[in-house]
């Protein structure tokens, strides 16, 4: 038995016979060519054929993985249309009179080495893409092997030094039980593809590929990041149990997605969905969402030169409300700023858009934007008998919220005077995503009907970490005790004033956080639709009383790591 520790790249446990992938080695010999014109035409043909092959791979990726994965092959095809690269190839063949293969080798390597020299993993990873296209083109040029690399002849755990996206996607999906590679990182294309395909994968494992016997069995544990070759009976049995448990859990989660989420001691919490537009609503319903906890409305305002009018907005809101058939819908009013410029709002790029003129702060100069949105929301809710809840983003001081509420009340009165049917009851609440709002929650709770904690921004603002800066992004953990204290105090203050609290950041969709949030007393969990079934299962495992003790204990811990380790160890 050999055990190799790598990095987890795609969740799940795979067990099966090993199939070692050896890419075809192509030996490039440099030759002088007298018929340069003929050689160039031979290369042009190979380029055309490779483009067609990339089209096929793209179609396959679209079908088995998704749009994002298919885009990889579209980007590869762009390389083959690159004017500078084509020019360099043409010159090598015509002026240096070398053969097409060595021209391809030299010119592609020129770009690959330049990309590798950059100081950023993102750009360095593109060198792998350039080499992937180079290999496909060289295979196309070689007469003996028109086909791509070979594929496993039976369902197998595929072990390789490295896998390119074009390698991964050409394997039959049902023949890939799991993937294990020596190279690549958790953000490599292969890792992304594996996740999209739902195949367990481990990367960066120091495997001795040459030492693997042909009949070996392998276990790939995509959660622990382990690859085990020829496991002992005991290890194999454990892996089987882990795999069965996962499959069973997944099945249970899907089957019970439409049942309520009630703790073992009988507390029910609401599990609802985050959506970014009408197209997400169907999926939310299918996954068992009991309502919408965050309806982002920015899509209505972006990519256009004029502000959407009341009628257009009403139509879109109606579409969403009708699908939700009377269930609660929390709508977040426009949260736009310097990171997403909108010319008609006079929103300009700013040096610090997340600290800039955005969201509710626009009420000072552009109250008409919010007013129009209120009118459209009220009209749409009145037509559809919707349990509408309006939520104001990025509130940091009480007067901002009171001003928004006053604007809402006058808008509602104006609509009533115009004889427009209105919903019987509308809740008016706010996002808690600034430390200021959390610290003053006891004041806000007197004015708001509900809070929704936006942990992504709350974390960024509390820890002074820019989430989009990859050098510090890893520091932005909502499990940081400072963030947890703010969440706990927000919920406590709200409940003292009969104000209910939801949470719509990524934390709400994390299994690890469930006992903690239950312990804090959270009323509503709002997340990406795909997480709903699993989170419901997790909520049903816990007892709220016990969770309160867990939450108290977690709040006493000093570091992010201590909190996470503690949560990983506890069991109901």
């Amino acid at each position: 038995m050999q055990r190799y520790q790598g990095m987890p790249a795609s969740s799940g446990v795979a067990i099966g016979p090993v199939w070692v992938y050896h890419p075809i080695e192509l030996h490039i010999e440099q030759r002088r060519v007298t018929d340069s014109q003929g050689e160039w035409q031979r290369l042009e043909r190979a380029i055309q054929q490779t483009k067609i092959q990339l089209q096929t791979l793209k179609a396959r990726a679209l079908e088995s993985a998704g749009e994002k994965e298919a885009a990889i092959f579209e980007a590869h095809a762009l390389f083959l249309e690159d004017v500078e690269l084509l020019d360099m190839l043409r010159k090598s063949i015509h002026e240096e009179e070398i053969n097409a293969e060595s021209a391809v080798e030299t010119c592609f390597e020129h770009y690959a080495s330049m990309l590798l020299a950059l100081d950023n993993a993102y750009f360095q990873a593109r060198a792998q893409d350039v080499r992937d296209v180079k290999q496909q083109l060289l295979r196309m040029l070689s007469d003996q092997e028109k086909e791509m690399g070979i594929a496993p002849p039976y369902p197998a755990v595929i072990i390789a030094e490295d896998l390119t996206p074009s390698d991964t996607i050409q394997f039959r999906r049902d023949f890939i039980l799991g993937l294990g590679t020596m190279r690549g990182g958790p953000t490599s294309h292969t890792a992304i593809l594996a996740r999209a395909l739902g195949v367990p994968a481990v990367v960066s494992a120091p495997i001795h590929i040459d030492a693997i016997a042909p009949e070996a069995i392998a276990v790939v544990d995509g959660d622990k990041g382990e690859i085990i070759i020829n496991p002992s009976e005991e290890v194999l049995a454990q892996a089987r149990i882990a795999r069965q448990r996962q499959q069973a859990l997944h099945t249970i989660a899907i089957c019970t997605a439409h049942e309520p989420a009630i703790t073992t001691d009988g507390c029910q919490v609401e599990v609802v969905a985050n959506v970014g537009g009408p197209e997400d609503v169907q999926q939310a319903i299918a996954m068992g969402a009991e309502g919408i906890g965050l309806f982002r409305t920015e899509f209505l305002y972006l990519d256009r030169t004029d502000m959407p009018d009341e009628e257009e907005q009403t139509l879109v809101y109606r579409q969403v409300f009708e699908l939700m058939t009377g269930k609660p819908v929390v709508v977040r009013t426009l949260d736009i700023g310097g990171d997403k410029p909108a010319p008609y709002l006079d929103v300009k790029p700013e040096p610090n858009p997340f600290l800039g003129w955005r969201a509710i702060r626009m009420i000072d100069r552009r109250p008409d934007v919010l007013q129009r949105q209120f009118r459209a929301l009220l009209a749409a809710a009145g037509q559809t008998n919707t349990d509408l809840r309006i939520m104001i983003p990025l509130v940091s001081s009480l007067d901002e919220f009171i001003r928004a509420r006053e604007l809402f009340e006058t808008t509602r009165t104006a609509l009533a005077d115009e004889g427009i049917p209105l919903p019987k009851q509308v809740q008016f609440g706010m996002m808690v995503e600034t430390p200021a709002a959390a610290l003053l929650a006891h004041h806000f709770a007197k004015e708001a009907d509900f809070f929704s904690i936006g942990t992504n921004d709350l974390t960024q603002y509390t820890l002074a970490v820019d989430r989009t800066n990859e050098r510090v992004a890893h520091l932005a953990s909502p499990y940081h005790p400072a963030v947890l204290h703010l969440i706990a105090m927000t919920i406590e203050a709200a409940h003292a004033h009969d104000c209910w609290v939801g949470l719509c950041g990524e934390l709400a969709g994390e299994v690890l956080a469930v006992p903690l949030l239950l312990g804090f007393g959270l009323d509503e969990f709002s997340m990406a639709p795909v997480s709903i079934p699993t989170i419901k299962v997790e909520i049903r495992r816990w007892n709220r009383k016990q969770c309160q003790e867990i939450a108290r204990a977690a709040l006493s811990l000093p570091t992010t790591q201590a909190v996470k380790s503690f949560l990983q160890e506890i069991e109901p």
Binding site: L118, D303, K340
Partner: protein, 91 residues
């Protein structure tokens, strides 16, 4: 020779989709267009070449200088400026 200086605000910098959109926009014009990474002070490259643009290594917040020469040079610079200022049309 018309030249503009722009700041790339997209989180991916000139990489992935933004790089492809940038090149696509440049390639739609007949004039010669070059782009230079001012922040890291790298020599100008052909703005119509995706590989060359990638090798500039432009991250979020970097300044670039775009230069156009020939037919429709002004229009080309306007289109590139619009693309970058609208954050590559991303939602």
């Amino acid at each position: 020779m018309p030249t503009i200086t722009l700041t790339v605000n997209h989180p991916a910098g000139l990489h992935a989709r933004p790089a492809a959109e940038f090149v696509k926009t440049a390639a739609a014009f007949p004039c010669n267009i070059t782009v230079r990474n001012i922040t890291d002070d790298k020599p100008a490259v052909n703005a119509k070449s995706i590989l060359s643009v990638l090798t500039l290594g432009v991250h979020q917040g970097y300044e670039i200088e775009v230069n156009a020469e020939g037919d429709q040079a002004q229009e080309a610079l306007q289109a590139i400026s619009d693309l970058i200022k609208n954050n590559f049309g991303e939602t």
